[in-house]
Symmetry: D2
Subunit: 367 residues, 4 copies
C-alpha cells in the first residue's frame, strides 16, 4: 500500500558496523536506579550488537527508556521499572561505536535519505497545505482499520460539540478506533452530553448556557460514582449515544488517566499517574497509528511512549504514524521538539477535524 513505506534494515556488513564491539551492560544499582552511563532509547529503531555480528532490534520501544539485555533477549523498560541487578545496556553513541546503532533512515524511500528526512521534519503552520496529509490519513486509516491498530488520544473538546461527538461515535462504531486514551474530563463531559445534552452546562448544539447547567457534570459524576462504574451506568440507563458508550459496546479498550484538575473522579479513572502510564503503554505497544486531538498533556505523554516503528508479529517492521491535531503551532511543535520525529501536525479545530474524517471515511457529505 502506497501510504505505508517499507522498511530497509541497516547493512551490518558496512565496515564501521562490522567492526563494532559487542554492547556492554552494567547491573542496576538499585530498584529504579540506573548505572551511570546508561543508554536511553529514542523513538527510532535501535539495534544492539550482542557480539559475533548478531544485532538485536528493540521491539516495543519508546522514548527515554532503557534496554535490558540478557540471555532472554532485549527488552525496553522504563527506568522506574528496572529492578536491582538487571543488566542495563550502556553507551551514549548511536553509530555502533559502543555496539548500539540507531537507525533513522529505515523508512526513507531508496536513494533519498536526505530529502526524505528533510521533508519529514518540515514543521507545519496554520498556512501549510494539508490536502495530501488528509488523503494520506484516509488511506492509512482504511488500511489500519483492518491490518493495524488505531489509537485515539482525545481531549474533552471533542465531546463539547454535538456533531463531533456523533462523528467520534461513528468512527468507533465503524472500526476506526482500536483503543482510546483520555482523561476524566472527556468521559465526564461525554456522559454529561448523554444525560443533559450539555458540555460544562452549555448546550452542545445551540451553545446556550442552560440554567443550573454548571451542576450537570457534577451530577453526571455523582451518578456514575453511585452506580460504581461507567459500564454499569451506561447499561442501567440504556445510554446509546456518545464516545464512551460506543467503546463499551464495541469492546474498545479505553484508559482514563487521572490528573490534578479532575473533579470526581469517575471510578474508571486511574488516579496514580505511574499506573496510568503503565496502562497507557499497554495500548501504545500495539498501535500502528495514533491520532491525538486537542490535548497537550495526553499527547505528549503518549508521544513519549510510541516509537516511530513497530515490529509486527511476522517480524516485519512498519512505521507508526502519529498525527497531532491542535490549534496552536506551539502545542503541535512541542512534541516534535522532544524528538518524536514521526509526528505530523495538523493545525485545525478538533471538532472540524473529527467531523471531516467521518464524512471522508463514510463517503458522505454533511446534509
Amino acid at each position: 500500500m502506497a501510504a505505508i513505506p517499507s522498511y530497509t534494515p541497516p547493512d551490518f556488513s558496512r565496515p564501521d558496523l562490522a567492526a563494532a564491539p559487542a554492547v556492554r551492560t552494567a547491573p542496576a544499582p538499585a530498584d529504579g536506579v540506573l548505572p551511570p552511563g546508561f543508554h536511553a532509547t529514542s523513538n527510532h529503531p535501535e539495534y544492539v550488537h550482542r557480539g559475533s555480528g548478531e544485532w538485536l532490534l528493540a521491539g516495543e520501544s519508546r522514548m527515554d527508556a532503557v534496554l535490558l539485555l540478557d540471555a532472554g533477549g532485549l527488552r525496553v523498560v522504563e527506568p522506574r521499572l528496572v529492578r536491582q541487578g538487571e543488566p542495563v545496556v550502556m553507551g551514549r553513541s548511536e553509530n555502533g561505536e559502543e555496539g548500539i546503532y540507531v537507525h533513522t533512515t529505515g523508512f526513507d524511500p531508496a536513494g533519498t535519505a536526505t530529502e526524505g528526512k528533510f521533508a519529514f521534519r518540515a514543521r507545519g503552520t496554520r498556512e501549510t497545505p494539508f490536502s495530501r496529509s488528509y488523503d494520506e490519513l484516509y488511506e492509512i486509516l482504511r488500511h489500519d482499520r483492518e491490518q493495524g491498530s488505531i489509537l485515539w488520544v482525545l481531549g474533552p473538546a471533542v465531546a463539547f460539540d454535538r456533531d463531533s461527538r456523533d462523528a467520534m461515535q461513528w468512527l468507533i462504531e465503524n472500526g476506526y478506533c482500536h483503543a482510546l486514551l483520555a482523561g476524566n474530563a472527556l468521559a465526564t463531559h461525554d456522559l454529561e452530553a448523554a444525560l443533559f445534552r450539555t458540555g460544562l452546562g452549555q448546550d452542545i448544539y445551540t451553545q446556550a448556557l442552560v440554567p443550573g447547567g454548571h451542576y450537570n457534570h457534577l451530577d453526571a459524576i455523582n451518578e456514575v460514582r453511585r452506580r460504581g462504574s461507567l459500564a454499569r451506568t451506561v447499561a442501567e440507563l440504556d445510554i446509546r449515544d456518545g464516545i464512551i458508550p460506543a467503546c463499551l459496546r464495541r469492546s474498545v479498550p479505553f484508559v482514563l488517566a487521572g490528573s490534578i484538575r479532575d473533579d470526581g473522579p469517575l471510578p474508571e479513572v486511574i488516579t496514580d499517574t505511574v499506573q496510568a502510564q503503565d496502562a497507557m503503554r499497554q495500548q501504545a505497544r500495539r498501535t500502528t497509528t495514533v491520532i491525538a486531538v486537542a490535548t497537550q498533556l495526553h499527547t505528549i505523554a503518549t508521544g513519549n511512549m510510541v516509537p516511530d516503528y513497530r515490529v509486527m508479529e511476522d517480524g516485519t517492521v512498519r512505521p507508526v504514524f502519529f498525527y497531532i491535531v491542535d490549534m496552536s503551532e506551539f502545542g503541535a511543535d512541542k512534541l516534535a521538539n522532544r524528538g518524536s520525529g514521526q509526528a505530523r501536525a495538523i493545525l485545525t479545530n478538533a471538532q472540524d477535524f473529527v467531523v471531516n474524517l467521518r464524512h471522508a471515511l463514510a463517503g458522505t457529505g454533511k446534509l
Copy 2:
C-alpha cells in the same frame, strides 16, 4: 426563513422618544474636518429626528462615519469625505436626548431583548460547540445565494492548499460569492498555483519545496505586469482553475487592496489605501452576509464598513451576518471588541472551513 430574524423598528410613540428634540447639525469647518461634538455612527440602525415626529433611518451605514442631514435626506459619510459646509449631525447621546436614537434590539426575538443580546455577544473559543453555527451558516448561504449578497474577505492561506483553492473556486462558480475583497497576496498566490502548482514555492498538494520555487510568485507577478492585467493573463494563458479566474468568468467583482508588504503589486491592486477603502465600501454597502477568512487586516477593515443591518430595496430591514474564521481567539475577538456586535467567530483552519463548506453546500462527501 428561520435563520434570518425579522426587524422590529423602534416605537417612536414611546414618551421619551415622542419628547425628543429635533436633531441639530453644524457645518463642517473645512474639507475632511468635523465640527466639535459631531456624532459618529455605530454599526447598528440609527435614527435621527428631523422634527415633528419624523425619524429617518440611516441607510448604508458603517462604523465611525458621520451623518449628513439636509433636505435630500440622511447620508452616512466617512469623515475624510465630508466637504466644507456640509451639515453634520451633532450629538453623542443615543437614546433620543439629542434627536438621535441607536436601535440595538431590532433583531431580538420578541420579548427576549436581554437574553438575545447576551447570546449574541458570547465569545467563542476553540472549545465552543459550532454545530449549530455551521447549520445556520449553510441555511443563510443557501438563502442569500438567491436573495442576498455574499461577500468574501480572503487571506492568502486559502490559495496555499489545493483542496481549499478548489473549494473556493466551486463556491464562486456555484453562486455563493457575490463579491470578493482581498489583497495582492491572495491573487498572486492563486495565480502562482495556476502557473506552477505552488504557493510561495511549496507544492500546494504535497507540501514539498520545489527547487527554485521562491521565484514562482515573482515570475507570476512579472507575467501579469507584462500582460497588463489579471484578466488579460487569465484569458491569454487560458487559465481555468483558481479563485480569481472563477471571479473573472462569473463576473464576480473583486477588490484587491494594497498593503506595504506587497511585492509587485499586480496591476489590479489599488495601492492607495483610501481609494481602496472607497472601492471596498462599494461592495460592503450591498452585502447581506460577510465571510472573512484568515486575514486580520482585511477583516477589521471590512468590519468597520459593514453595519449589522441592511435596508433592502423594498424598504425592509434585515440583519447582515458577519462570520470571522480565524485560528486565534485574539484575532477573532479583536473585531468583536471594536463594536461589531454581529460578528460570529468560528475558530478553525481556513482550509478546512472552505472545504467543509463546499461539501456541505454541495451535499457531497470528500471522496
Copy 3:
C-alpha cells in the same frame, strides 16, 4: 492598605434573608457519593442559615465542593472525601430561598456593586494596559510578604532561562514565596540547570544545544533517585542555586504533583493525583495571593481549590488574589470561564514576568 479592599458581610436583616428558611441537609448515601440535589460551592463567600437567624460562613472554601453541616459547624469537603451518612447541605439556589446565600459583592467598593463587578471580570488581551496591574501586584506582594501567604504555581519554563531562574530564587530567598506548587518537570529542569547549566539539553543562558544534552535531565533524575530525595541531593552535592534549593533552604513547602508525562519521577513527586490534590489544597487553604505562571494544568487545578476570600485567624475576611501569567488568551481565559472570577490575567512571557518582578521588588534595574 489601598490594594486590599475591605469586606462587607451580607445584611441578614434584609427582608428576603430574614425570611429565609433553615438550610436542609441529607445524609450521603455512600462513601464518596452525594445525595441528589446536593449543593456545590462556588469560589465566593457562602453562608448557610442554620435557623433562627444564625448564618454560618464557610471557611476554607473552594469550587465544586460540598458543605457538611453538623453541630460542630460547617465544613467544605471534596465530594470524594464525604463519608456515608455525613450531613450534606442541600439546595441549588443562591439567594437564601433554601437557606443558602452566595455573597458575590462583599469586596465591592461601597455603592459601586455593579461597576466593581464589571471591572473585575474584564478580560485582558495582549494589548490591554497592564501598568496598574503591576503596580497593584507589587503593593500586594509587599503587603502579603509579611501579612499574608503567597503561593506560586510554576510551569517548567521559569527554570529554562538563567535570569528567570535566578529571579525566582531571589523571590523565594526574600520572603515573597510561602509555598510552591509545581510538577516533576519544574524540579527536574531546575536540578538539570544546577548540575549541567542546561534545560532539556539547551544552555539556559546561550540557548546552544549541548552535545549529548538530551541525557542531562535523565541523569539528573537518576542522580536524585539514587540518593533518595531532592533534599539529600541538594545537601550532598552542596547545590546553592535554583528554585527547589532555595525552597529547601528557606523551608518553603513545595508540592510536586505527578502527571502522565513525567519521566522518573523524582522521589518527592506525589504520583497519585487525588493525594496530590489533597497536598495542594493544604497549601491552597492558607494562601492570600496566588501567582500562577506558565502552566495550564496546575493553574486550573489550583484555581479550583482557591476561593476568592479567606477568613483570617482573627475572623476578618479578605480577598484572595489570583494572577495568571500566560502567553495565550485561551489559556488565561480558561480559568476565568470556570467561575474563578477573581483571576487576573497578565498576558506575557513567564521569564520576563519573573525577572521584572524581582527588579521591581528589589528596587534595582537589570545591570
Copy 4:
C-alpha cells in the same frame, strides 16, 4: 565589540569562483516589467562578477529586488521601479555559475560555518531562554546608539499602556531610536493618550473604560486634521509626552504608512502603499538594528526591505540585527520563514519588552 561579528568576504581565488563567467544582463522590456530569467536578491550579501575577476558587492540590498548593472555600478532596485531598457542582472544560481555569488557565511565565526548557521536558524518559542538575547540586545543598542542606526517598527499596543508609552518616549529621548516606522493607529492612539489619557477609550493606566471614550480617537484625529499636521498640533497644544512628540522634539524621522483599516487618516500618513514603501526603504537603507514590536504587517514589510548586512561609509561590512517581539510563534516565525535569516524572535508582551529595555539601558529599577 563582542556583540558585532566581523565580516569575512568570499575568497574569490577559490577555483570555482575564479572560473566563474561574467554576469549577464538583459534590458527590461517595459517600465516595471522584468526580462524572464531575472535574478532576485536575497537579504544576504550578493556579489556579481563584472568580468576579469572583478566582483561587485550589492550595497543597500533587500529581499526580492533586482540588480541593475551598468558602467555606474550595481544598484538594488524594486521591480516596479525598473525603467524600460535598464540592464537587469540575469541568473538564478547562487554559487558563481552565472557570475552571481550569494555569501551566506560572512558573519560566521571562523571555522564554525555550519554550527553558526544552525544556531542562527534555531526557532524560539515562548519557553526558549532569552537571557543572553537580552544581554546581547543591550550591548548592541548601546553600541548602535552612537555608531549605528536603530530603527523601531511599532504596533499600536505600545501606546495603549502608560508605562510602555513612557518607556518608548525615554528610549527616543535618550538616543536609542534613529527612525520610526508605524501606522496611523500608533500615532492616533499616542495622541489620544496625550489628550485624553486613554487608548481606544480605555484608561492607559487603570484599564477603566471611560464614558464616551470611543469618541476619543476620532476627536484626536479630527483635531489634527483641523490643525493640518501632527507637528502643528503638538506645538500648538504644547504636548510634551508621548512617542510622536518625542520624535518631533528630537528630529527623529518617522514614516506613517497607510492601511485599509485606518480611521482618518492623520495628515502625515502616506496613504499610497508604494509611496509608503519608498519612504520606509529610505530609513531601511540606513539601519543597523531593527526592533519590530507587536505588528505583523509592518514587521514583514520592513523585513522585506532590510538585508542582513550593511556596507558602511568606510566600506566595511557589518551585520544588521533584526529583533521581532511578538506574542505568537506563528507571527514571529512568519518573517523567518520568508528568508530573513537574521531575524531573532523574542516571544513576549510588547509592553513588558519596552519597559524592561528602558530599565536595563537606564540602569534603573522600576520604582
